[in-house]
Amino acid sequence: MLSPKTKGLFVDLSEFSILAARTSGYRIPLVIEELAEFPLNSDHSAEEIREFFEQLVDFKGSGYFVSRAGVYPEGRFVRYYEAESANKAKDMGFLSDVLKSEFNVDPDLGSVAILDARDGSDFDPGTSLSKRLVFCGAPTDAFQAQQDHLLKCGIYPERMELSTVTTLGGVSDYAHFNEINAPILCFELTSKSANIFIINKGQVEVARPVPFGLDSIYPLLQRELGLKDEASARKLFFSNTFDFAEMGPKLLRRMTKELQASTGFYEVQTGLTIEAVFISVLPKNLGWVSKTVSDSLGLEIMQPKLEKWLESLKIKLAEGVEVSNLGARWMGLFSLMGEFHLREEGESE
């Protein structure tokens, strides 16, 4: 009855595609055995997605496969807050008010985690000395919807994480490992919203939401090309047929404005210069978005060298697994595997 050790399955579930990895297990050191992608261009049924997973891992006749997932629930937030003093930060009631008043989050309806902005550790009001905090989470209903969706697809989420903040953790750890001392701009762009972060030396210093996302582009596109309606604009947008390179800056002007505002303000305030931008989750065929952002901000697009970084986290690649041609959007998936707190780094906060 004792079967050989059960494999691990990591899943990054965004609106664009499902990224999955089968590993030797969940405890490091682990070996990534296979990577797979299931692009979500049109409506896919839960059965189809489940079939995709069944090809990757052996369900052994059971209804679910125990996995670890990263999701992008609607209404998610990752916010940075600096308290007046560390003592003030210890008062949970005070923090609850902050959530309500400053970030418009109702703590009763949301699942919230509070992290120490310096290293991403769980904030413990009893012992922590930090006054710089990161609030992250989403409405509980949104998380529930994601969880239910996962279950329908045969995924039993042993861990369900907020990909946004997990990816931040990955980038921060990557910076540590590669000794990148310049601040990094992290940009997450999805249909309904966007998030702008600035990480400096592994700490989150800026976390700003943008209330609109890719969806805001469709009306512009429709008008620009004289299309019938927004739906056809959207279809065109995601197809690989049109070259958006020329039109890119026009379509993204609002977005780039927001980015410039954040980076400008930060650079003035800190006197530091941001050198690279990390763009997560954006699918391949929207590569022109990355280019446009990089050009308009004059920042280098960060293409992480995954293999070495993964090795340092005691994550090995099996024969035939290639990560060198994987883009930054895979960062979310690999970050799910990383046990960053185990890295022996004594970097000062």
Binding site: Y64, D108, E158, E161
Partner: protein, 220 residues
Amino acid sequence: MSKRKKEVQPFWRPNFVIPAELPDIKVVRTGFIINFIAITLALCVAFFLLQREYRAYVLGHTIADMEQQIRVANADDVENLKSSEAFRSAAQYVVEVEKFYSAPLQAHTFLYSLAQIKPEDLIFNSVSLSETVVKQNGKNALAYNINITGDAKSLTVLDDFKKILEDADLLKVEGFDLQIDETLQGRDEKTGIFPYRLAISLTPRVKAAPKSGEEGGDAS
């Protein structure tokens, strides 16, 4: 606010899973165990039952055989028992005769032997033998008394004779204790001889603990 916490949360990676709404997947594995146990128990019970039934069946046959065997042998057995009974009741008579005769001493042999061992210098005036009932351990038993009166030439003669009696096979009876007492009267002035009286008693030896063999003693 609701916080999700697990022992040591990895950095930058809080867990937002909602455990209350997760299905119970242990059902998958426990299903196997439950089925396994259920099947095993069912097999055990069924096996036990079958074994019992089989044994009962075999037993039934064995019993039928035995009854047949007995039926066949019964006629002869009855005959044997009848003969046995006939023998037993006839044997009772013989046993009683033996009982009738059983005694440590027989008059004729006793007298004959006594006469043989009587020394020259000892005179018997009278010899008597009697049996009496004595109580031992709450039960009745037979003791035998022999009285000899006479005259002795000298005390040594009497003592010798006593010794002879004690050693004689005549008075050595299994299961009986021998005791010889003497009473003397003074020397007769005229004749110079001693009148004596010897009282010999044979008492049944007391057994240490009453055995059931007491009853069987008669059948011997």
